[in-house]
Amino acid sequence: MTGLRGCGFVLVVAAMVLPWASRAADAPLSDQAKAFAALPDWSGVWMGTGTLFERPGNPNTDRMLRDNPPYKPAWEAAYSKFLGDVVRPGKYLDPLTVGYPTGMLRTMAPARGIQFVVRPEMVWVIHERPDLRYIYTDGRPFPPKDELWPTFEGYSIGHWEDDTLVVETISMMGGVPLDRTGLILSDQAKATERIRKIDARTITDEITIEDPVAFTRPWTITRRYTKRNEQYPRVESVSSLENQRNPVVGGTTQILLADDLADVNSPYTDDLRPFALPKMPAP
């Protein structure tokens, strides 16, 4: 009897435990976990490769190059004049130099590294410049017109088509340069991107820009990003202000040499010097 009772106890316990153990092995994922599991893995640090917007190489030579968007004649004439009068003589003041955001679409043409943080409701593109771009993938529509205003990054809504992130961006501030030649769009431009990981080390972004004010037709370019292959890739924010020795004076970029640095003072009295950053200039 004892043996039977013991056997019965085992069976009872097994009947209680086994279903639980089975559920633990293939426990149903939470809705949030399912949503994450369905997303592609774009982890890592990615570097822009040769590009239309931001050519690699020495700006002293490459500034002679230019992109060729399908500008309307008046825009082409203005861009050509800007290249001749400002860019080629080396007088161009790149807003990045003085701390402005990168701005769409230049965010997708990084001279430094970028990261894609892919979440179910949003994708963040983090730029080392530094800059941050938000792409909403939570199913929302664009806001009504009276809740939109021009911004450097615009307003981006995305959705997934299998492993491709399709993004539409509107409300981008006109006149924000797309590259070092000063190429610009109007504030009516719209960008449609198809971002996809095509192999373990390559992501591509096919960007079609429509600009009814500046362009005669849509302009499509493709950006490529290559994954850095270190085991522990390093990412750094590049502040424009930390040790800015190229101030812009009267529209011309200067260089602070050793003698000029002696003129950089603390904004406070000497005994309060620790409260100022090392390179903070006097106000």
């Binding site: 690699p56 020495n58 007088k91 040790n243 260089i255 040499l257």
Partner: protein, 133 residues
């Protein structure tokens, strides 16, 4: 700014004013203050390596014509770019004897844009690497 036109001219002549090949990365401010078509070579002693954003700077004391050393300011890239080229904050130390190849300032000031640095042990620091990726 200290004028060292004689030194610049000598360095330029010694190099034949070679045209510089494109560097792998580019500064975001206009580089029009640098003579991209000229290279000069300086020998001196590192005073300070400013491993800083948005650009790093090598402060080098170079023997001057009048006897007193002249402090040169040699601009190069942001730390993260240097690191990826294998150049670390410790790669240049105060007191290091170096030979620096640079694009000089057009106005003859004591500054320029780094091309490469050769240390006393023969090792070379440049944006071409070596470095990961």
């Amino acid at each position: 700014m200290v004028k060292l036109n004689v030194l610049l001219a000598l360095g330029c002549a010694a190099l034949g004013c070679a045209t510089f090949a494109a560097s792998p990365t580019a500064a975001h401010h206009t580089a029009s203050m640098f003579a991209a078509d000229k290279e000069i070579v300086l020998s001196g002693t590192v005073k300070q390596f400013q491993y800083t954003n948005p650009h790093s700077w090598i402060q080098v004391l170079v023997p001057g014509d009048a006897g007193a050393p002249v402090e040169w300011s040699i601009e190069t890239q942001a730390p993260v770019v240097l690191l990826r080229a294998g150049i670390k904050p410790t790669s240049l130390q105060p007191g290091d004897k170096v030979t620096i190849k640079l694009h000089p300032l057009k106005d003859g000031g004591a500054g320029g844009e780094m091309v490469e640095v050769t240390k006393e042990d023969g090792s070379i620091i440049s944006l071409r690497g070596p470095g990961p990726n």
